[in-house]
């Protein structure tokens, strides 16, 4: 393994993040605060409790997941798409590094940025609601796995994208609806029976359910199934990336 190269890519990508630190920090704080004003105070005061949990606290795991998933995707996809766009990818392709090292550098940096955003949102949320975390280790594990797996997905999108519109397409048209419909702001037990069954085809349900279990010890689906889902998703993304580098799809002619 060329660890020096991995560290170089990671450092170079993180530098981009630190150049816009104020923006990176303020943006999630602002949006989280707005969610709490709207859902926590305005609407939440009328909803009272969901599955025995204050509504303001109930939405915290979903809110973190929403930001972490979209941030992991956008950071990783931009990270690898930008060198393609400006042509600096020639250096990655001609360097003595393999696909795993490239992925570790880019995906590692994107996952770190998403993790940072997740932690900032958690800290902001704790200012608005009383939070107790039932399974802290499981919470960290779910958070890390989500950051990693969605950064991998973002990396694939960045390789696939041929222009900036395509770069936005998957997060906007697929991921955001799946997260909103995946129980970020409600328990799936609140849905009509037929929708409860349909929603089980949404993979994000398993992630949010598992993450919420780590907070409140209550889940829509068994926690083992949640872990299996995120593990399977990570493996699938890794397999696709391995195939991309083996065939040179969209990166090497």
């Amino acid at each position: 393994m060329n660890w020096t190269a991995v560290a170089s890519i990671y450092r170079f990508e993180m530098a981009r993040f630190f150049r816009t630190l104020t923006q990176s920090f303020l943006s999630p704080v602002m949006s989280t605060s707005l969610y709490f004003v709207v859902f926590g105070a305005a609407i939440g005061s009328r909803i009272d409790q969901v599955e025995g949990i204050d509504y303001g606290a109930f939405i915290v795991p979903g809110l973190i997941m929403l930001s972490v998933m979209t941030q992991a995707i956008s950071n990783a996809s931009f990270g690898i798409y930008f060198p393609k766009f400006i042509g600096t990818i020639y250096e990655l392709l001609s360097a003595p590094i393999n696909f795993l090292e490239i992925v570790l550098g880019y995906v590692g940096a994107a996952a770190t940025k998403a993790l940072f955003i997740g932690v900032v949102i958690l800290a902001t949320a704790s200012l608005f609601v009383d939070l107790t975390i039932a399974h802290p280790f499981a919470m960290v594990l779910f958070l890390l796995l989500t950051c990693l797996s969605f950064a991998l997905l973002g990396f694939i999108i960045g390789i696939w994208a041929g222009n900036f519109e395509q770069l936005q397409l998957v997060p906007l048209m697929i991921v955001t609806p799946l997260v909103f419909l995946g129980g970020s702001f409600y328990s799936i037990s609140m849905l009509p029976p037929i929708w409860q069954k349909i929603t089980l085809f949404n993979p994000v349900v398993y992630l949010i359910s598992g993450f919420r279990w780590a907070f409140f010890d209550t889940a829509d689906v068994p926690v083992g199934l949640s872990l299996l889902a995120i593990g399977g998703f990570t493996t699938l993304c890794l397999a696709v990336i391995w195939w991309i580098f083996k065939t040179g799809w969209r990166i090497r002619s």
Partner: protein, 309 residues
């Protein structure tokens, strides 16, 4: 001496059946400077990109320092530095970080003293904290060179390094190339400036239509393929060539002011003595005599247009 770069029957075809490389064979010895000349679309950049790992070859083998570029890509690529034709740089990053990134990407440990030395030689040291986007085109090209040198390559590819740069940078570039050669670095450069190849290359390769037409020592090539011209200026202009000179390959130029005689340096006899005797016998008086040798550019044009003998 074993070749540091060895290319055997290298072919590259694209999905649209276009064949960019048609069986290229080339050996490059350690420490030499090879200039690769060819018209646009000849396959120069494809050849370089394939050796560097940016393009996957359809068939054939390439070894760098004895390492296959596919089977043993890490060892092969760690020996290579590439200065691409296009100015591809991260615009928001500083010069220093960009160059440092390149060194790290090639697995080399941090060496600030070396990077400082490179940046100073390229007149970039004062700009080290500037963002790339703040630099002029010539400065950006220097950054590309600094990036390639940052990981201490043994084989350096310069793809049109002086295209569109000012005279000063071109002079700096040539000095750096001379210095690198002195330290044993092998250099392969493509260029449109044939005088560049003429002044710094040890050998010259001519590529056209995906095929290497020839690779030869520059001096030998110019001796072998170079033609010479003798220009005889007359004191009194003549309207037509006298009959006594008709059997010589002569052109009357400048309104009858001068005669041009083209001869082959490879020939056993140049025919100059006979010509000058015949000129004197025809009653023409010489004002001046001078010779001119064809440049590498003339040879190159002859080769790619298929006139080479």
């Amino acid at each position: 001496m074993p070749a540091i770069l060895s290319i055997r029957d290298l072919r590259k075809s694209y999905a649209n059946a276009f064949e960019a490389l048609k069986g290229v064979n080339l050996d490059i010895e350690e420490g030499e400077i090879l200039a690769l000349l060819g018209p646009n679309g000849a396959g120069k950049t494809t050849l370089i990109s394939t050796v560097c790992g940016i393009i996957t070859p359809t068939s054939g083998t390439v070894t760098v320092g004895g390492h296959d570029i596919i089977e043993d890509f890490r060892a092969a690529r760690s020996l290579i530095g590439l200065v691409p034709q296009e100015i591809n740089l991260e615009p928001f990053e500083t010069v220093w970080n960009t160059v440092r990134f390149s060194r790290g990407l090639f697995g080399k440990s941090r060496n600030d003293a070396l990077l400082e030395d490179i940046l100073r030689k390229l007149s970039l040291w004062d700009k080290r904290n500037n963002k790339i986007m703040e630099l002029s085109g010539g400065m950006k090209r220097r950054v590309l060179i600094a990036k390639a040198l940052s990981h201490e390559p043994r084989v350096l590819f310069l793809d049109e390094p002086t295209a569109g740069v000012d005279v000063e940078l071109r002079k700096d570039m040539w000095n750096i190339v001379a210095e690198l050669k002195a330290s044993g670095v092998t250099i392969i450069l493509t260029t449109h400036y044939i005088e560049e190849a003429e002044s710094i290359a040890d050998r010259v390769g001519v590529i056209a239509d995906g095929q290497l037409l020839l690779v030869e020592q520059k001096d030998q090539l110019m001796t072998r393929m170079g033609k010479k011209q003798l220009e005889v200026q007359l004191t009194t202009p003549v309207a037509v060539l006298p009959d006594a000179l008709a059997h010589h390959d002569l052109q009357l130029v400048n309104g009858g002011d001068a005669l041009i005689y083209t001869y082959d340096t490879r020939g056993e006899r140049t025919g100059i003595t006979a010509l000058l005797n015949d000129v004197a016998q025809a009653g023409l008086v010489l004002a001046d005599v001078q010779t001119r040798q064809s440049s590498l550019e003339d040879i190159f044009v002859d080769l790619v247009s298929g006139d080479a003998s």
